[in-house]
């Protein structure tokens, strides 16, 4: 069901997104606001750059000692009465969680926002196992009602104008048409409240897992994750192996950079530190706590020195907000769970470069992502590396080979370069009209689809150059 057999047709997806006027309007409104919020929040802290460095350092330290921290986390969670499950891939994770639901007779499940559960396509599996699953993050709830997938790491519904959400609620919930976001939130809250009360199982992601104490940290703004973990009898937390942090003290760095990078908040509204299941004498919290720790390609990435840094990612979404490609394409165009610059690295790494071969090329290498990444992931360097791998493994399209082949042929010596100019000027005579070129043939036709082409100068610089008296050097 979920495993993707076909190639992601990124170029067609992007073209479709560009024709979607409502998407373009919505992104044009939402993205600049997110960027400004982040920039203002970062500028407020004089220590911002040192926080970024500290965060990157801690993550690298964890990645260098990953198995030992995971072992420590496992024993701490066990000591607190939790059960730890190891899933090597998405299918294993689905089996673990659906078996849990089945064996405990779970019929109703609430979920808080988790990209990791998106990555393993959990909801359809649970539904096939006979349970109802309700997303309780407002954005995720909307996405679920619409039968879509989240388009952004932290703002799953950023692609959807409010008006469409109003229509969706009328259609799916049979409520009057509300225009204001706060009224829509109230409607959702009423529906979701009943779900929280009825659910036997709550499923969440994990932002940070503390090896030292076995604490699972969940960051959110709506309080739904807190209800998801407090009310149902069983809590299942799903995390990638890279989410572990050594000590509770490390949180101070990460909570600050995550909130400011993601939403521009000084702090997220709810930060839950969950240490073990309900203990004797306690009145709330789950009776059972299960922690599912997922590999799903991460250890392979860890063994890849050029791309390993992508495992530092804390899923803040800043690179998406900042990326001019994401801003125009929207998240769905990337055809995968993870969109934007980090998605262009993770999707080829997790799902295979062959299927995702176009993703690393969908960037001008403008480096806006690298500038804002709170854990300093070298995203442009990784995109360049993945492009090189695509070329080395024969995945580059013919047009690229033609263009680059011609370019490198003609730039290999000054004589060839001068010849290229002469040939170009001959061709130019046929193509130019009134001192302009408005149409170029394949493979350059993409240029003139959107712009006038420049004319080659009648004599190149090197022919016009007159060395000063003594000659060069």
């Amino acid at each position: 069901m979920p495993d993707r057999p076909t190639r992601i047709d990124l170029i067609r997806n992007i073209e479709r997104a560009l024709r979607d006027e409502s998407l373009q309007r919505q992104m044009g409104k939402a993205m600049p606001a997110s960027r400004k919020a982040r920039a203002d929040a970062a500028a407020e802290l004089p220590e911002w750059e040192s926080l970024r460095s500290a965060a990157a350092e801690i993550k690298d330290h964890v990645l260098a000692n990953l198995e030992s921290y995971l072992g420590q986390l496992e024993s701490q969670v066990r000591a607190l009465g939790g059960v730890v499950h190891w899933a090597s891939d998405a299918a294993e994770a689905r089996v673990i969680i659906t078996d849990l639901a089945r064996s405990r007779g779970v019929r109703r499940i609430v979920k808080s926002k988790s990209m990791t559960t998106e990555e393993i396509f959990l909801n359809p599996a649970l539904e096939s196992a006979g349970a109802s699953v309700v997303e309780t993050d407002l954005g995720e709830y909307v996405v679920q009602l619409a039968g879509e997938r989240p388009s952004h790491l932290i703002a799953p519904v950023v692609h959807k104008p409010t008006g469409e959400i109003s229509d969706l609620f009328v259609k799916k919930l049979g409520v009057p048409r509300y225009e204001r976001p706060e009224d829509l939130a109230r409607v959702a809250r009423e529906v979701l409240r009943a779900e929280f009360l009825a659910a036997e199982m709550g499923i969440t992601g994990v932002n940070f897992a503390i090896a030292e104490t076995g604490t699972l940290v969940i960051v959110e703004n709506e309080g739904n994750a807190r209800l998801t973990t407090a009310r149902p009898r069983i809590h299942v937390a799903v995390m990638g192996i890279e989410k572990v942090l050594p000590r509770l003290a490390d949180l101070s760095v990460f909570l600050r950079i995550l909130a400011r990078s993601g939403t521009g908040q000084r702090s997220s509204v709810y930060v839950s530190l969950l240490t073990g299941r309900r203990r004797v004498g306690e009145t709330d919290g789950p009776e059972e706590l299960h922690l599912v720790i997922l590999d799903n390609g991460r250890r392979r990435l860890l063994a890849d020195p050029d791309l390993r840094g992508a495992l530092r990612c804390i899923r803040c979404g800043a690179c998406q907000n900042e990326c001019p490609v994401y801003q125009h394409a929207g998240g769905h165009a990337y055809g995968s769970v993870y969109a934007g610059p980090i998605g262009a690295v993770l999707t080829p790494a997790y799902e295979g470069l062959e299927q995702a071969r176009d993703l690393p090329f969908a960037s001008t290498l403008c480096r806006a992502c690298a500038d804002v990444c709170p854990v300093k992931i070298d995203l442009p360097g990784m995109l360049v590396e993945l492009r090189a791998r695509a070329v080395r493994t024969g995945l580059a399209p013919r047009r690229d080979r033609m263009l680059v082949g011609a370019w490198t042929f003609f730039t290999r010596s000054p004589a060839r370069f001068v010849l290229a100019g002469s040939l170009g000027r001959l061709a130019q005579r046929l193509l130019a009209r009134g001192g302009k070129i408005e149409r170029l043939p394949y493979p350059l036709s993409g240029w003139t689809a959107h712009r006038t082409a420049p004319l080659l100068a009648s004599r190149p610089f090197r022919k016009r150059w007159k060395p000063p008296q003594e000659g060069p050097q």
Partner: protein, 240 residues
């Protein structure tokens, strides 16, 4: 007199030789003697950015040979300077001797405005340019080389030039080399957003440190029938 070697860049050489000549005039005005090593061609960025690292390495090798002994290498392009500075050392990381040469050359390579302001400490080159101008900070100069104030400082010192702010200036124009052809519609959409801000700025001239971005921007302006002209920073600084 400071001796510098001009890396004119392949696009300037064939498409915009007057920009190269302007760069020479500006450097001479700033007290440099300019050499043009005639064996130079292209830094290889177009191949490199597209994943063709072997091809890029051939061109980078040539660059290292041509400029091995140059005291300072100045290019009228933030993007090409950044290619040499940021990527050459990585491109040769597995060959120690070339890696050392690449790092040495990287440390001697500058974008024009960077060289003028950071190395020579000049901002006023005695230029005069009577027009309303806005400045687009090209990504590789801005985020690669960290050029923010240098080009603006040079522009502020130009007589009769009225500098106006470009809204959302730091957004990429959408050029991206072969990206502009492969992802033509997307590149066109990014360009269109950039052109809107250029026209909204009220400028008669948009300038930048890179002819590549300017080629894309001026192509878009021309297609739109806009009256705004695109000019390289060196052309403005050479004005008198």
């Amino acid at each position: 007199m400071k001796p510098v070697a001009l890396f004119v860049t392949c696009l300037v050489d064939q498409l915009y030789p007057h920009v190269g000549e302007a760069a020479v005039r500006v450097l001479e005005r700033a007290g440099c003697t300019v050499a043009f090593p005639e064996e130079q061609t292209c830094c290889g960025q177009a191949a490199f950015n597209n994943g063709f690292q072997e091809e890029a390495r051939v061109l980078a090798r040539r660059f290292l040979d041509v400029f091995a002994h140059a005291p300072a290498i100045v290019a009228p392009s933030g993007s090409c300077a950044d290619m040499v500075r940021e990527w050459y050392p990585r491109l040769f990381r597995d060959t120690p001797a070339l890696g050392d040469l690449a790092r040495s050359i990287a440390s001697r390579t500058y974008e024009l405005s960077e060289y003028l302001v950071r190395v020579l400490g000049t901002t006023d080159l005695g230029a005069r340019f009577p027009a309303t101008v806005t400045y687009h900070p090209s990504c590789h100069g801005l985020r690669g080389l960290g050029l923010r104030e240098e080009p603006l400082g040079l522009l502020r010192a130009v007589r009769d030039l009225r500098l106006v702010e470009l809204p959302d200036a730091e957004q990429c124009c959408g050029f991206g080399g072969f990206f502009s052809i492969k992802f033509a519609a997307l590149s066109g959409a990014m360009l269109s957003a950039k052109l809107d801000t250029i026209e909204a700025s009220g400028a008669e001239v948009v300038t930048a440190t890179d002819v590549s971005c300017l080629m894309h921007i001026s192509g878009g302006l021309s297609r739109r029938g806009s009256r705004v002209r695109a000019m390289h920073l060196a052309e403005i600084l050479a004005g008198s």
